[in-house]
Subunit: 385 residues, 2 copies
């Protein structure tokens, strides 16, 4: 097991009806900016429910945070906070709103150009406004971690940031809030959580038995409930398990003491930035070819994954691995998520610009061995056609 | 899944050589009381290592905290803190030292008789001194939770307390610190962690898939590494996995959103209080008969336990369950831990006084269904002979 530092102070309030707890969670007298995305926060009634629970507080609203939240939008929220002397933020939404809120919380205290926060991958943050979250979409894990991904529209740059000052004070996870999500978003959420686990699990063995078992447990659960929750979005137990899977997939726990990959994510970010595919759509395309191309380097863990997660155990190890990768691809397909670029009408001409972007963003030595170079990425993208 | 509130702000610093991080973790200028147990903290060199890492701080020592830490001892530490204007505590030891330190931290601010903290099961705590821990013995999980068990020697009372003000600020988990533990303590640690998981897992199903998988993962890991670590106490990977298992077994995570039992623990506490057996020794005696006697109530989870943890799956479900209970007993035996009272020369005459104690401590409706009455406990103790 590798040495590690694990710290996660976010208070999770999980279950039906927990929005009513808000006034016990937000500090008395706080002046709150509620951040949210599109109309669904309004039409679903969640925003109204939140405002009712906060009727004794001064509250302002800031909507319109996009999927892949934009720097250009978020800095406007910082101005609203400054101009109105607000001192607490409450994010109501999914990963994009919560990621964006992290940036707002940090940018409030930024010296100089707030893009510096993202350009430093979050390392320049020295102070942040306190914030909480009401999760409406299980997927990214942002509700219980200190990271986010911010996009600058002006130059198609999508970069991750992270800082231990950026944990939510609390997050309310009410699985009924996902009942009305579009099928596509639910399916994306399953894929996103699944690939988050894979990025921390499917590297090379370091005798981290508990972390491996936990990762396998989340993957097994996602396989069990994934297609079911899409077909029965109003089944509380299915939604509850999906929500808790997604949170546990990226709150630092399964990643403590083990090597990390994240090459699939970094490659996927560039596809989203240049071609607008949803984050999870890019992961479902890149992951199978990433595993196929790197199967020698990942051999031991791929075998463990095949045996423990998929119950595949042929005498022929090669066949065992190939079948596990195929099952992974089929799992994404069973959720209605496509697994090739051509299904999105994207051809080989997109490859070189993606590699250029990777180089521009210093993403030239990816993966757990730092050997996923642009050349390797080219082959993976060719396999992803 | 049941609704839940999960909060665990303890910073875990895990691995070889992490004691050197101390001066980054203890607030600058803190005046520290180091609490510890017997001579092993000294003879192992850990105390010296800690003092070296804290050479820029004002430090006092308080040793002699017993296994099953005593109220009578702990209140002396409170006096030392008050008389010397200390403001931070650093526990160096296993669960007893850390549990005792929690009480000291709370008792410093107690109005009136500090026993009230324990008598209220920790609910009367309003403020506590900050403290950190250096774990030397993997077992109780106290290093990453907010609970403790305190014994009052004057009337043989051993009671649990819990309060969210009582989390350690940080805990340093260096698996090499367990290299020199006596075999008995290592074996006790494995049993303790195992039964902690069972108390939160082996109740009745509530569709908490992730929690179940995590629990099963810890149990499987303990089964894999338990006998091995006892035979190879200087194997870093084995010790690291045992330490992380023990921490994860009782940090609130696997218990979030599921029913809890704890009847085995409460019965075991009385045996320790009256007859001095080690905590884990009592668990290894009580658990198998607890499961045997309550197997109808626990049927669904016992089957799941048998199938997933022990890979037992006979057509005859009764046989499947009995074999899983037998395997559990044999696992404890394989660690060198006895599983019956008679092996400790304790006979049926001990039963009634234990039941009287349970009644005195209001422990008359134990278990996940509150149906483990003193009468049920009598039968379980008879089965434990």
């Amino acid at each position: 097991m590798l040495n590690f530092d694990f710290y996660n102070p976010t208070n999770i309030i999980f279950g039906k009806g927990q929005v009513a707890q808000l006034s016990n969670l937000v500090p008395k007298g706080a002046r709150i900016l509620i951040t949210y995305g599109g109309n669904s926060a309004k039409s679903s009634g969640t925003l109204k429910e939140v405002q009712d629970a906060l009727k004794d507080y001064e509250v302002m609203l800031f909507g319109g945070i996009e999927p892949n939240p934009r720097f250009e939008t978020l800095i406007k929220a910082v101005e609203v906070i400054k101009n109105n002397n607000l001192d607490f933020i409450l994010a109501v939404g999914g990963g994009s709103v919560i990621d964006g809120t992290k940036f707002i919380a940090a940018a409030y205290y930024a010296d100089g150009d707030p893009w510096g926060i993202v350009a430093s991958f979050g390392q320049s943050v020295r102070k942040a406004l306190p914030y909480g979250a009401i999760l409406t979409l299980p997927a990214t894990g942002s509700e219980m971690n200190n990271g986010g991904v911010i996009t600058r529209a002006s130059d198609n740059t999508k970069l991750p940031m992270m800082n231990r000052l950026l944990y939510p004070r609390f997050s309310i996870l009410d699985p009924t809030k996902s009942y009305t999500l579009p099928t596509k978003q639910l399916a994306n959420g399953v894929v996103d959580a699944y690939v988050h686990v894979i990025e921390q699990y499917l590297t090379y063995p370091v005798n981290a038995h508990v972390q491996d078992r936990f990762s396998e447990g989340i993957l097994q659960t996602l396989i069990e409930i994934g297609p079911a929750v899409i077909n029965n979005p109003k089944d509380y137990e299915l939604q509850a398990n999906l929500m808790w899977c997604a949170t546990m997939a990226l709150n630092g726990l399964i990643g403590a003491g083990v090597p990390h990959d994240w090459a699939t994510h970094m490659l996927g970010h560039e596809i989203t930035a240049l071609h607008g595919l949803d984050h999870a759509q890019t992961l479902a395309i890149v992951l199978p070819s990433m595993l196929q191309h790197r199967k020698k380097r990942k051999r031991d863990k791929l075998l463990q994954y095949a045996r423990r997660v998929w119950n595949i155990n042929h005498e022929d190890e090669e066949k065992t691995i190939d079948e596990a990768i195929e099952k992974t691809r089929n799992f994404f397909t069973s959720l209605g998520v496509k697994t090739s670029l051509s299904e999105y009408q994207l051809g080989p001409e997109i490859i070189e610009p993606i590699l250029t972007q990777l180089e521009e963003h210093h993403m030239t030595k990816l993966g757990e061995h730092n050997d996923v170079t642009p050349d390797v990425c080219r082959k993976i993208l060719q396999l992803s056609m």
